[in-house]
Symmetry: C2
Subunit: 176 residues, 2 copies
């Protein structure tokens, strides 16, 4: 085995000086939220930010997040902006410090609501508009073709309606 000459520095040198390495708990939390966030189609960096804030007992300024997560200023700024826009994170006043300090919003229901309204609903809406257009197109077909196509469009519409009906329920379920 090669001798550890650099007195026990790990493989990935942590950002030079003042950034304490992530604790086990922090790593687990970050991992968990990376997975969750990915599921919603958002970038990993956003999961990292939220994960660290989630387990932090104190509000953290952007700089600390950058340092501890080894993340660029750009990513941190953009990620926090996104999280703010979903209400997943908010800033609190820190006495004698000009910087914004961030805390994770513990009640995720606003996050869920905003996500559903902002990402899911629009898709369904545009889908319905498109279905209307398709049904329009089908009327010009020969009776035979129309038969089949109309049937399929009806099925598709059925699914869309199911989706539409589900969202409000989903919201209610999450909010309670």
């Amino acid at each position: 085995m090669p001798a550890e000459t650099e007195l026990d520095s790990p493989v990935h040198a942590p950002a030079s000086a003042g950034a304490p390495a992530l604790s086990e708990l922090e790593i687990e939390a970050i991992d968990l939220f990376i997975g969750l966030i990915r599921l919603l189609g958002m970038p990993k960096s956003v999961g990292e930010l939220y994960g660290l804030l989630f387990v932090s007992p104190v509000a953290l300024p952007m700089e600390t997040l950058m340092d501890r997560l080894n993340m660029s200023k750009g990513s941190a700024s953009q990620g926090l902006k996104l999280l703010r826009s979903f209400g997943a994170v908010k800033t609190v006043y820190a006495p004698a410090d000009r910087r914004d300090h961030y805390v994770a919003e513990m009640d995720l229901s606003r996050f869920a609501t905003n996500f559903i309204k902002g990402e899911l609903q629009p898709h369904l809406d545009s889908g319905v508009r498109r279905l209307d257009r398709m049904e329009q197109l089908v009327t010009k077909f020969s009776p035979e073709e129309r038969e089949i196509a109309a049937n399929r469009l009806a099925r598709l519409r059925h699914w869309h309606e199911k989706g539409q009906a589900m969202l409000p329920w989903l919201l209610k379920f999450l909010v309670v």
Copy 2:
């Protein structure tokens, strides 16, 4: 304006010879399914395949899909494999033709079920395992830290349980 020398060929030359351009209906359907499929985190090509099959009144061999969608053999093969694995598409026997012929499965509930069981459930499961680990870690903290951390983990667990509880309901909702 530059003269149209190539007698009215459109900007994107359609695959040389025998591939009829997509009809308006087909384009709408493909667009719609690309959106839906993207929402589930799958590549565009998969949406194209399913969209075209969805409005096709007849079963189509892979070759036709490749030609009409201007898609490589590799993408078509992989995409159909994925769709098959989710039960979104199946092959039917075509007399006097050695090639597999594909039709879209109109009942999307199997697709939904497989997606939930294959993609969502595992995430939630691993999340719960991770939560257990985190709670384990927290026990080693000082009482003060433990107080805060334990509280947050409890909230997180609450959300995970909500998610767990929702999936079966979601399934039932979709299947009916």
